[in-house]
């Protein structure tokens, strides 16, 4: 019997929601890491019991947690006194040590001067598709790190910051690698997206990266609307069967590329507003895309107080509002960029979390919705594991 396990990161802890394949009745487990900000949790496809979590705090900094039993128990990898006691002696406790490689370098600061990179937190964890001990981490200030020992130690892939990093400038929400997409057909290819910098691609497993922002237009955010870097990409999404096709929710605009980011085209079509944060693709229909339109960059809540997911079955341009089971009046929550996901059950399930603490789920591709849980802390991220 298949099951769904939804991993929810919130401002004050993590929650794990589980259900059978029907996805009607849910068990809510948590809070894990109570009181800490959980930016993201994600399970390994190679070993679903392996889950990585990013735990952080303004007081105590970054912690990486790992579960090897599907979220029942957690440990910061390599940080127990009995761990790593080899010939060198003391345990290292380096699972939260994120140090930029080489000379730190600088990026553009708010006043136009250059500012040194400073590690703040991990926004996103992306486990390898094939090896549970390998995981990528997207950091603020923007950088990508990689572990090959299950999270005990992390090493930066510094080539990303070499992709015109000196020109990147944080926006009001900071400057973080918030999206990491792995190509199932090509292990050397990785896509990332960075708030206020844009989208980037490597074709050599992270050694070198290039901006892939041609076709993006930011007339109200950048002096040059067609700049090579600086665009505020909110999220990109890929269907695993079509790795050259990516869908993007930008600060404003919804776009797609069919050539791995070499050129993007606007697919906003009839959306009531093309501002928003998350975007995702149906598990079985590579041309079916979901977004949650938000009124504007100045008013981060749904248009007219109606929480509506929009679905395009044609890869963009033509969008349909999905409203059944979602609040259609007095709703002023936001849905953050990492807070929507799809399962691979049949029919495909869609999930998203709000800053008002609800997690909504649809077990039929978005036609009908219900709140799985309400009144959690503000939801930062939602991921789902489909368990066989």
């Amino acid at each position: 019997m298949s099951k769904a396990r939804v991993l929810v990161g919130t401002k004050k802890g993590a929650f794990i929601l589980t259900s059978d394949g029907k996805r009607k009745k849910w068990k809510v487990d948590g809070p894990h890491f109570a009181g800490w900000e959980i930016y993201h949790l994600k399970g390994s496809q190679a070993d679903p019991n392996r889950i990585y979590a990013s735990q952080s705090s303004g007081w105590f900094g970054q912690i990486i947690q790992r579960s090897d039993d599907g979220g029942k128990t957690w440990n910061p990898p390599g940080s127990k006194a009995e761990d790593l006691k080899g010939p060198e002696g003391m345990p290292r406790g380096e699972s939260n040590k994120f140090v930029y490689e080489g000379a730190v370098g600088t990026h553009k600061w708010y006043d136009g001067t250059q500012h040194p990179w400073e590690f703040k937190r991990i926004w996103h964890l992306e486990p390898s598709l094939t090896d549970p001990d390998i995981c990528y981490a997207g950091a603020e200030d923007a950088a990508i790190f990689k572990t090959t020992d299950g999270g005990s130690t992390w090493k930066e892939l510094p080539g990303l910051r070499g992709a015109k990093g000196g020109l990147w400038q944080p926006g009001a929400g900071g400057m973080a690698v918030h999206t990491i997409l792995l190509d199932r057909t090509n292990p050397n290819r990785i896509f990332v997206a960075i708030s206020a910098a844009g989208a980037f691609r490597t074709d050599d497993a992270g050694k070198t990266w290039k901006p892939i922002n041609k076709g993006l237009k930011s007339p109200y955010e950048l002096p040059d609307p067609d700049a090579e870097v600086g665009h505020c990409v909110h999220r990109i999404a890929m269907h695993p069967s079509r790795p050259d096709t990516l869908f993007m929710q930008k600060h404003w605009d919804v776009l797609r590329t069919d050539n791995a980011g070499d050129l993007w085209k606007d697919i906003g079509g009839n959306l009531p507003t093309d501002f928003g944060f998350p975007i995702d693709v149906h598990a079985h229909e590579p041309n079916t895309v979901y977004v949650v339109p938000i009124k504007s960059d100045s008013e981060h809540y749904p248009l007219d107080g109606k929480l509506r997911v929009y679905r395009s079955k044609s890869g963009g341009k033509e969008w349909q509002a999905l409203t059944k089971g979602l609040p259609q009046k007095n709703c002023y929550v936001n849905v953050l960029r990492d807070a929507m996901c799809v399962d691979s059950l049949e029919p495909c399930g869609i999930y998203f979390g709000t800053t008002g603490g609800q997690v909504y789920g649809s077990a039929d591709g978005g036609n009908n919705w219900e709140a799985i849980v309400r009144d959690l802390p503000p939801v930062y991220s939602v991921e789902v594991q489909t368990l066989k």
């Binding site: 009181g35 800490w36 705090s57 303004g58 007081w59 105590f60 900094g61 970054q62 912690i63 910061p76 390599g78 940080s79 127990k80 006194a81 761990d83 003391m90 345990p91 290292r92 406790g93 380096e94 939260n96 040590k97 140090v99």
Partner: protein
């Protein structure tokens, strides 16, 4: 030596009660206490002071014998009452305010 930890660090280190006991070499300085703490509880590395620069995290405070040692140099020697265990060395999460 007795070292008092804030709630979240006690949970992280799986410590019962409010304090931990540490063997601290001489001279017993702020840095020596933190070295001993991190050696016994590696999970706390990076949570009180930076991994590389060893600078105190901004919202952490060090109190001892009603004195704030947070801004003192790491080589500052601790009061005798802390060294002999009559008083704890207190690691505090600063008030959030607001």
């Amino acid at each position: 030596m007795r070292v008092m930890l804030p709630f979240h660090l006690r949970k992280l280190a799986s410590v019962d009660g409010g304090e931990v006991e540490l063997q601290v070499g001489k001279p017993a300085t702020v840095a020596a206490v933190l070295d001993a703490l991190e050696a016994k509880y590696p999970v706390l590395r990076g949570t009180v002071r930076d991994h590389v620069t060893l600078k105190r995290r901004p919202f952490i405070r060090f109190f001892a014998c009603k004195e704030d040692l947070s801004l003192e140099p790491p080589e500052t020697q601790l009061p005798e009452a802390v060294v002999n265990g009559d008083e704890p060395f207190m690691i505090i999460g600063a008030m959030a305010g607001g």
